[in-house]
């Protein structure tokens, strides 16, 4: 923050400037007269809720979308970006959240994919030169690894480094990064920040999309806030507070605290897991959840949290142990667990939670078919009435119950996943990362909803990597480490430090 120099003075001409960019899709104005400038060697944070237009702007920037109106200037000269090739020529590279690496090729092959140096015999590839060049590029970003390593064997952070190396090898001067730390551990995040500092020093500009407030202030030289496809403001981190930024993003005051009315005493025992062991790598899990409680399940990514959730729900086979729900032992497939009153809101909404091509209504009633239509005869109108009720109750932003669910924003999709279990009348809600990729407004709505559910006698088991969320909303929490429960924290003991301490591997 201290080196947030008055950039306009040091370099008066932006490296790249977009003026009056608009882009429309059927029924949606994705970008509305957005102007945006990137100066050499700056980190430009792009902020906004889901659906604010960040992704669209990014795609216009890299030539994947062509803007309906607007102009581009490169170092003050007017240019056209109408294809990804145009953008590449200008040195613009995007590091998407989903990497575009070929998993079964090695690092060097990936870096030079499609532009391999030719060997002496035409049509062959100079393997030695590829390896040497890759080594050199990796060196410039400080990534010490054998370039002949197969990409599939790399972790997420390392794959990201390869993506960055690939961009640098194409002489990228503007790197666009879409939530680059979303899948990284704290240590990996630190390494990425070091790399960003190094790139900056080399004069590379970075457009950085993030949902994490801490990063915005730690990294950003400037901040552009988008909302509903419009540019709301451009500010410097030193001149704003996080609350002000949130207000700009949301357009209204949002309660950043997490709504939770803690019950005086927990209700009766609802879920009791004893010695649960599964072939997915979890062993001897003991968990209790009572009605009226929100119980956290924390630990590092990969510590077995999701596996516990899946085993309780019957999605993975249990090798030993017992699951008691509402006084009865349960075992079997998810349909049995669901019928008894267990709900799983899985980590990946799109691939595990929703049928994206089906309507909001279809998705909302899918788990409640037996309950809504005990005769077995389905009635589309009755289904839509149920869906309309849930849409109102959960304030799902959709033109109608017949809208394709894949067209909704992340937060609204998540509400649909929760809604289908409300329709089913579930008693225990297992949330696996319920707020991942969801904007702040929707987050606090989802927490208010969970609070209301447990106040009405349901219970929740909540997995989250956002420790601050766990600390604020949970009655107590279990912390996992390497497939086992490493400890239990009561309400009073629930602090980020304690969660991290219990979840860390012992040195």
């Amino acid at each position: 923050m201290s080196d947030a120099l008055p950039i306009e003075v040091t370099s008066p001409t932006p490296l790249l400037e977009l003026r009056g960019i608009s882009k429309e899709f059927p029924g949606v104005k994705a970008l509305d007269d957005v102007s945006f400038a990137v100066y050499p060697g700056e980190v430009h944070m792009l902020l906004g809720e889901n659906g604010a237009g960040k992704s669209s702007l990014m795609k216009v920037l890299c030539g994947a979308y062509s803007a309906d109106t607007g102009e581009f200037y490169y170092k003050g000269d007017k240019v056209a970006i109408s294809s990804t090739a145009d953008a590449q020529k200008l040195g613009i590279a995007v590091i998407f959240q989903e990497f575009s690496l070929v998993p079964y090729l090695d690092i060097a092959q990936n870096i030079f994919l499609g532009r391999e140096p030719g060997g002496r015999i035409p049509g062959t590839i100079d393997r030695r030169k590829i390896l040497a060049d890759a080594k050199r590029v990796l060196g410039t970003i400080g990534f010490d690894i054998d370039p002949s390593t197969i990409v599939d064997k790399l972790g997420v952070a390392q794959q990201q480094m390869v993506e960055i190396a690939k961009a640098i090898s194409q002489n990228a001067r503007i790197l666009v990064m879409d939530e680059p730390t979303a899948a990284l551990s704290d240590r990996e995040t630190e390494l990425l920040f070091e790399l960003i500092a190094r790139l900056k020093a080399d004069g590379v500009s970075i457009v950085y999309i993030s949902h994490r407030m801490a990063e915005v202030f730690a990294l950003g030289d400037r901040i552009t806030v988008l909302r509903d496809g419009r540019r709301i403001d451009g500010v410097r981190p030193a001149d704003v507070t996080p609350d002000q930024l949130v207000r700009m993003m949301v357009g209204r005051n949002v309660d950043m605290t997490y709504p939770r009315n803690f019950a005086d005493k927990p209700g009766e025992l609802l879920l009791e897991v004893k010695g649960l062991t599964s072939s997915t790598g979890i062993s001897d899990i003991n968990i209790e959840v009572r009605r009226g409680e929100i119980v956290g399940l924390c630990g590092l990514v990969g510590s077995g949290r999701s596996e516990v959730a899946r085993a309780i729900f019957g999605a993975d086979p249990v090798t030993s142990g017992e699951i008691m729900f509402d006084g009865k032992t349960i075992s079997g497939e998810p349909d049995l667990a669901a019928r008894r009153g267990i709900a799983l809101i899985p980590e990946s909404r799109k691939s595990e939670g929703l049928a994206l091509l089906r309507s909001v209504s279809d998705n909302l009633v899918v788990s409640a078919l037996r309950k809504l239509f005990p005769s077995g005869l389905f009635d589309q109108r009755a289904a839509q009435r149920t869906a309309d009720g849930l849409i109102r109750q959960l304030r799902i932003a959709t033109p109608s119950a017949r809208q394709t669910v894949g067209l909704l924003s992340g937060g609204n999709q998540q509400k649909v996943v929760i809604g289908k279990w409300l329709a089913a009348g579930s008693k225990l809600f297992i949330f696996d990362e319920p707020t991942r990729g969801i904007d702040i407004g929707a987050k606090s709505e989802i927490f208010a909803l969970i609070d209301r559910l447990v106040a009405e006698g349901a219970a929740a088991l909540m997995i989250s990597s956002e420790q601050i969320e766990i600390c604020h909303v949970c009655d107590r929490a279990y912390v996992m480490r390497e497939g086992r429960i490493a400890g239990h924290l009561t309400r009073n003991e629930l602090t980020e430090e304690n969660i991290v301490r219990l979840g860390m591997h012992h040195a």
């Binding site: 429309e24 899709f25 059927p26 029924g27 949606v28 104005k29 309906d68 729900f313 999605a315 497939e333 998810p334 349909d335 667990a337 669901a338 019928r339 799983l344 899985p346 691939s351 595990e352 939670g353 929703l354 049928a355 994206l356 091509l357 089906r358 279809d362 009633v365 899918v366 788990s367 078919l369 037996r370 239509f373 077995g376 005869l377 389905f378 009635d379 589309q380 033109p399 109608s400 017949r402 809208q403 394709t404 894949g406 067209l407 289908k420 089913a424």
Partner: protein
């Protein structure tokens, strides 16, 4: 630019459901084909010819309707033709041996259903991709049928039994009544039962369906069993219409059935399509082949035309759906 602007004004989703639009286009295509054939050929609009078209379409439809359910779950049943052959031969033998058409019909349906159930077990319990499981089943069934028949032909069935395939009731062929009955049952099952809804959900996203509490394995077993049973039903109609059974009668049935499903707008990726669409698919296919016969086009051209229609139908579907999304 103007096109984009026009699209932007259009509402994101029209009042008609996507399925209704697909069916509407298909009905329109069927009517257009009828109109063209009526102009080109004098005999097309004769009652005899129309009933003939319906009867032929019904045979394809029986097989294709069960197959539609399988395809809705993003599966495929390549064994339906071979299943028809085996079921017909076994049912024929039972009728010959016992003299009871009723027993023969039951055996045929049961044989078809059991084969379907075995397909379902391979797909669910053994987790073999349906394409491969039913392709293997095709060979197994062919092998069984050829061994069982040993080059023989069964023929000569009781007159009452032959009525099913070639008889008339109030001036309409009996298969047409059966067609209407099964079209009704199939549509009700797919659109108006919770099982039907679950089948669509499985096809749209099997992982999400399972994690939404749908008993995916049981529904898949059901779907393959239904497909097999419909093949069993088709075998009875064939047997009674042809008045004979040979080992190779199923060989030309599977691909037209798949064509009817695809022309009818059911997506091979699952979750999209209707049984009614398949009926129209079968109708379009039959109309075109009938028209070619009436216009004395060589039968050698029929596969080529079928192929073009399938490709056109699927391409147009993808185009309209992409625009809708």
């Amino acid at each position: 630019m103007t096109d984009i602007a026009k699209d932007a004004i259009a509402p994101p989703r029209s009042f008609l459901s996507q399925d209704a639009i697909q069916v509407f286009y298909r009905l329109l295509a069927a009517f257009l084909i009828c109109a063209v054939l009526a102009v080109l050929s004098d005999s097309f609009l004769s009652l005899g010819n129309i009933l003939n078209v319906l009867r032929q379409a019904s045979l394809t439809f029986f097989i294709a309707s069960g197959l539609t359910l399988v395809v809705l779950t993003a599966g495929l049943d390549l064994s339906v033709g071979a299943n028809v052959a085996l079921s017909a031969c076994i049912a024929g033998t039972v009728i010959h041996k016992t003299g009871s058409p009723a027993l023969g019909i039951l055996t045929g349906l049961a044989c078809g259903g059991i084969v379907g159930l075995l397909n379902g077990i391979m797909v669910t319990a053994l987790r073999i991709p349906s394409f491969i499981a039913t392709y293997g089943m095709l060979w197994v069934l062919n092998g069984l049928t050829y061994w069982y028949m040993a080059g023989e032909t069964l023929h000569g069935f009781p007159a009452g039994f032959r009525q099913i395939g070639s008889g008339y009731l109030f001036g309409l062929p009996i298969p047409v009544y059966l067609l209407l009955v099964f079209l009704g049952i199939g549509t009700l099952f797919a659109q108006r039962t919770i099982w039907g809804q679950e089948i669509y959900a499985i096809g749209a996203n099997p992982v999400a369906a399972r994690l939404s509490g749908i008993p995916v394995a049981r529904r898949l077993l059901l779907v393959y069993a239904v497909s097999g049973t419909m093949a069993g039903l088709a075998s009875i109609i064939f047997l009674s219409r042809l008045n004979s059974a040979e080992a190779d009668i199923g060989e030309s049935l599977t691909l037209p059935a798949i064509a009817a499903v695809l022309i009818g707008g059911t997506s091979l990726f699952g979750g999209v399509g209707t049984v009614f669409g398949t009926f129209i698919g079968a109708l379009i296919l039959t109309l075109v082949l009938n028209g070619m016969n009436l216009l004395s086009v060589s039968a050698n051209w029929q596969p080529l035309v079928t192929g073009i229609i399938v490709i056109l139908a699927v391409w147009l579907d993808m185009k309209t759906r992409r625009r809708a999304q």
